[in-house]
Symmetry: C2
Subunit: 497 residues, 2 copies
């Protein structure tokens, strides 16, 4: 990305005092932070290459206080950046210098859980995994599982339309959220969606999910819960070349099977992670597929047998099936630790997040292999193969200036290839500030105008997370090239991919 | 509904001539209709109680001509009502007296069908069933199956987010459309959605689907195709009371089964249809459930066994399983002919289309039974039980003025009950002009303002299907009561429900 154009104007102390006082009048003691040592922890999200402490951090404790914060900001014309746990990878929660960060950290209550209806109503600051923990006694869980699920919040998941390794079968956040309550910049509370299958009127729930905080502040989320499967087993299959592996993915899907997970790693990735996690990967394989089945013991047995047959027929050179939960977790450990492993073997890496129609998988992988030669940089490919969601990790050393430039060009080339085959520039990490210029590659002026029209309809004063996610036409005109993230993981204790 | 507020202003002959000439300049000979004998066939859709011939009918033959029609209308400030096959049940395609009906009838080409990617790209005027017919040689079909599928078009399905008896398992139009091309009132062509799993930016595809022609004119639709199941079998189960039947629906779902169809009929319905279609229904049963399984022979056998066990345990008094395709179609014939049957036994009927969270099925059915006593009118209940989508048929005689008033109040009461338990005023028939006042019950001022904001973003001059689907706040303020449809079926040769 180019340097973010989010306002970096300094603010005067008197302005800061005025806004902090106005917020202090509507929030409890200790819920307005403005000293630099207090605002510093909010200076970035998972896209740690860009840091900017906000003028003020507001921590409302309930919906009425969220509305009150929005009213103060509207009255005083202060831009607002909403923030969940700050685990996002595209800079969606990066602060604005003269703005307020509205943190949902204190809105962390599970309001109710209805096991019969299989729904939970939660506040936005509830952690993704906390929902599944609360649902566990009822044999239920919340399906989308981004790898940051220990830390990330459901409000952030709504903002980014988060996925995870199981979204091939269970869907993205969009498919697992029934309703949201939203505080608008106008001070209204609106409810979008419904617990019933379809909602009349325009489907604004779908627009809101993935809107990266630009349309309103979510104050309550009703999620679907699904039955915890009795059994989960995973197949690890080896392939002698990557195109054969990619075609095997297509064959599994073509056989009418929807695995609970369908992940692929290339040889660069498996050799990168194996010394680190000892997952037992076949290091001679050009590609490894992980295919998970879940359900009743009979269903899993049947699906494992069918997948094994398809993979064998598709040319797998070796097949192993997990025989215990410990072995299943071992098979997954390499995939789940690919990003930290990249950080160990390379000073920096650039994690891409493009999606493509599944049928073009082999073609795009071949294209990336050519780019490795062209740019003289290695690229480890790990991806949600079933979804066509690629996470190429371009390895480079930012201390060698030329490598950074080459990595930039490499990344831009990958996204352009994704778009060229009918795919998109982001699968699950959002646009934020990171991909905002690539949006110019993805969309034309008419589409961008439609986005801005909807943005204006929700946020006429343009105070909600401005300059994120949707580039202005002017910005697109100025767009020349892409820059890379640093290789720093903001929370190195969390597995993330 | 109250009398539609769609403009009924007469137009001058010179105005008609001017607009027709301008359209004639951009459309081929014979594609501009303005004589009353030519415009009369377009005077209503499936909501035949309201009729209004349009000033002009335009029949563009390609996308460029659609854009040209929109440009003429925008320049001359002429409202536009888009129209597919005119099978809609809520008056979404009812003309405006001084407006243009833009028919997609001539945009009826299947552009391409990609069996490997399981997608088809079609023009909006292609009939729903024609897609499945074209996909049949590849063992594929297009899943959503509104009962008007012989006649209705994919463009109309997109406008109404149409469902069908199989949408419990396969989803609504929203879940089966990957991308649309749209001509905007501003003369642009925009593409919404993607063949990739997720799209960056705002999810405007979801907003567009079900927007009832208010946001733009769809010029091309990319649909998902799914494999045709090898086997389909249906269980017919009887229940001694309707609450037990409703609870059985909940139990099937709770068992983790997603049947291909899960339909319920009450005794009034089964006794109404049996003399007409001889489906072999148990006329002593207070409720009949139809539960369909589809898939491979093994899958179907397994699912039929599991559903049978659950239904028995839930208190089914009799269970029959179709043994042949002929028997399967016989079991379905009663359900599929419920509406025509209502027309045979009652001078008029009012078909409602509410949805409710499944868990409230028993409660809502009990409520409707109480309303039958309260209003002194019979109500036959047929519904997509698995989806919680009710189609109560209120039987009345419009020639008895008091019955019409009672039927109105009865219908409004049912929708209010649906909303009260967290449901919605329409499942799959859309809002159009029929439900526009009930939208005031469903939504508050803030939500309606959000809808209008998005509408304005797409259609600043408010020329696309004005006064449909979203009521103005003024209209809501004036809203007092609901009126009923006539019992006339516009296409009596089509089964419809």
């Amino acid at each position: 990305m180019t340097t973010p154009s989010a306002s970096a104007a300094p603010f005067s102390e008197s302005r800061q005092r005025e806004v902090a006082q106005a917020l202090g009048a509507v929030l409890p003691h200790g819920c307005v932070l403005f000293r630099l040592e207090d605002t510093r922890p909010y200076e970035c999200d998972g896209l740690s290459a860009f840091r900017q402490p906000p003028m003020i951090v507001a921590l409302p404790e309930n919906e009425a206080q969220v509305v009150a914060v929005l009213e103060v900001c509207r009255r005083m014309n202060v831009p607002i950046v909403p923030r969940g746990a700050g685990t996002g990878l595209s800079g969606g929660a990066m602060p604005i210098a003269d703005g307020v960060v509205l943190s949902t950290a204190k809105l962390n209550r599970i309001v109710r859980l209805d096991a019969q209806a299989r729904t939970a109503v939660v506040q936005p600051g509830v952690r993704n995994l906390a929902i599944s923990e609360a649902a566990m006694p009822f044999g239920l869980y919340y399906a989308p599982d981004p790898s940051s699920q220990i830390a990330c919040t459901i409000g952030g998941n709504v903002a980014e339309n988060s996925g995870g390794v199981h979204c091939l079968k269970y869907g993205l956040t969009l498919h697992n959220v029934l309703r949201v309550r939203v505080a608008t910049i106008g001070g209204d509370i609106i409810e979008l969606g419904s617990e019933a299958p379809d909602a009349p009127g325009l489907d604004l729930l779908a627009v809101f999910i993935g809107s990266e905080g630009m349309l309103g502040i979510v104050t309550e989320v009703t999620v679907k819960l699904v039955p915890r499967p009795a059994v989960q087993r995973v197949i690890m299959a080896s392939f002698g070349d990557i195109v054969t592996g990619a075609n095997a993915v297509a064959r599994v899907i073509a056989a009418g099977i929807i695995p609970a997970g369908l992940e692929m790693m290339d040889q660069t990735s498996s050799r990168m992670v194996e010394p680190f996690v000892h997952a037992g990967y076949d290091l001679d394989a050009a590609a490894i597929l992980l295919c998970e089945a879940d359900g009743t013991p009979e269903e899993v047995e049947d699906e494992i047998a069918r997948m094994t047959a398809v993979l064998r027929e598709a040319g797998a050179t070796a097949i192993a099936v997990s025989d215990s939960e410990a072995e299943r977790l071992k098979f997954w450990s390499g995939r789940k630790n690919a990003f930290p492993a990249a950080g160990r073997i390379s000073p920096d890496y650039y994690c891409m997040d493009g999606t493509i129609p599944r049928k073009h998988l082999a073609q795009v992988l071949a294209g990336i292999a050519q780019m490795e030669v062209k740019y003289g940089l290695r690229c480890a490919n790990v991806f949600h193969a079933g979804d066509g969601n690629l996470h190429p990790l371009i390895l480079f050393d930012a201390n060698v200036p030329d490598e950074l430039v080459r990595a930039e060009a490499f990344g831009a080339d990958i996204l352009a290839l994704c778009v060229a085959v009918g795919g998109t520039i982001t699968g699950e990490h959002g646009v934020g500030i990171e991909k905002i210029d690539s949006m110019c590659v993805q969309f034309g002026a008419a589409e961008l105008s439609a986005f801005f029209g909807v943005k204006r309809a929700f946020d006429p004063p343009a105070l909600l997370n401005p300059n994120k996610a949707i580039p202005t036409l002017q910005r697109c005109a100025e767009f020349g090239r892409m820059r890379v993230t640093g290789g720093v993981l903001p929370h190195p204790d969390l597995p993330r991919f």
